[in-house]
């Protein structure tokens, strides 16, 4: 599965457009790592636990998008976009969407 965030897959021809595919995941942020993050908030700097958590979640959302694309017979996804929104206090939704295509 090839993924780009431009309209094409470089070096390949798009044979067929198969429509939009998407994947999402909602994660609560205040579990376990919250205590350490609270301490880190005093001195500032990177919250490594949160960076990892969000990376894992985004990876999962992307996997869901990929399996949706595979289900409709695509072998690439173009024009991929990511978005993050806070749904309720303490939870974030990670959303990824793109256009499933068939390339040669």
């Amino acid at each position: 599965m090839e993924i780009t965030n431009i309209e094409t897959i470089p070096g390949k021809n798009i044979v067929k457009h198969l429509g939009m595919v998407q994947g999402n995941t909602v994660r609560a942020k205040h579990i376990g790592r919250d205590f350490m993050a609270g301490l880190k908030n005093i001195v500032g700097g990177e919250l490594v636990g949160y960076t990892e958590l969000l990376n894992e979640s985004r990876e999962e959302a992307t996997q869901r998008m990929i399996s949706q694309a595979q289900a409709i017979g695509a072998n690439a996804v173009v024009n991929v976009r990511f978005s993050t929104s806070s749904v309720t206090a303490g939870a974030a939704e990670l959303f990824v969407y793109g256009t499933a295509v068939l390339v040669e």
Binding site: T4, N5, I6, P10, N41, I42, G45, T51, T84
Partner: protein, 154 residues
Amino acid sequence: MDQLINLGIFLSLVLIGYIFGRMAERRHFKSIREREANLADILTFSERKIPTDFDNCRGQLVSGAVVVSVDYFKMVSAGLRNLVGGRVSAYESLLERARREAQLRMKEEARRLGAKAVFNVRLETSAISQGQNNQTRSVEVYAYGTALIAPANG
């Protein structure tokens, strides 16, 4: 007496935040500058259209993310700034650090893949945790784009 203790805790948190926050920020900016110099040969573009120079390259999505928290001193000073308005420099440097760091991580991934350039770079910023008075304590920046990899590199 209780109020005095609370004031003492507050002031020491502000002081700790000021000292360690400044140290951490300086160290971070130094490492950002060094790594930016190392990765200067990987070009990034925000445009979608790929010039014909890269015609025989393979494209792959690369990304970098970072969550950076503001220190206690900066949070308090930003709160005070809210009263009078104007530039909130405490948050300016926070966002600058986060953006440059996220782009560096994206470039590092591109370097691992042997890419020469990254096209259609998008930066997304979101507030992560909220403190008292709904004040933002940390931000996440996510940078992503399409890396172009020359065929010789696989």
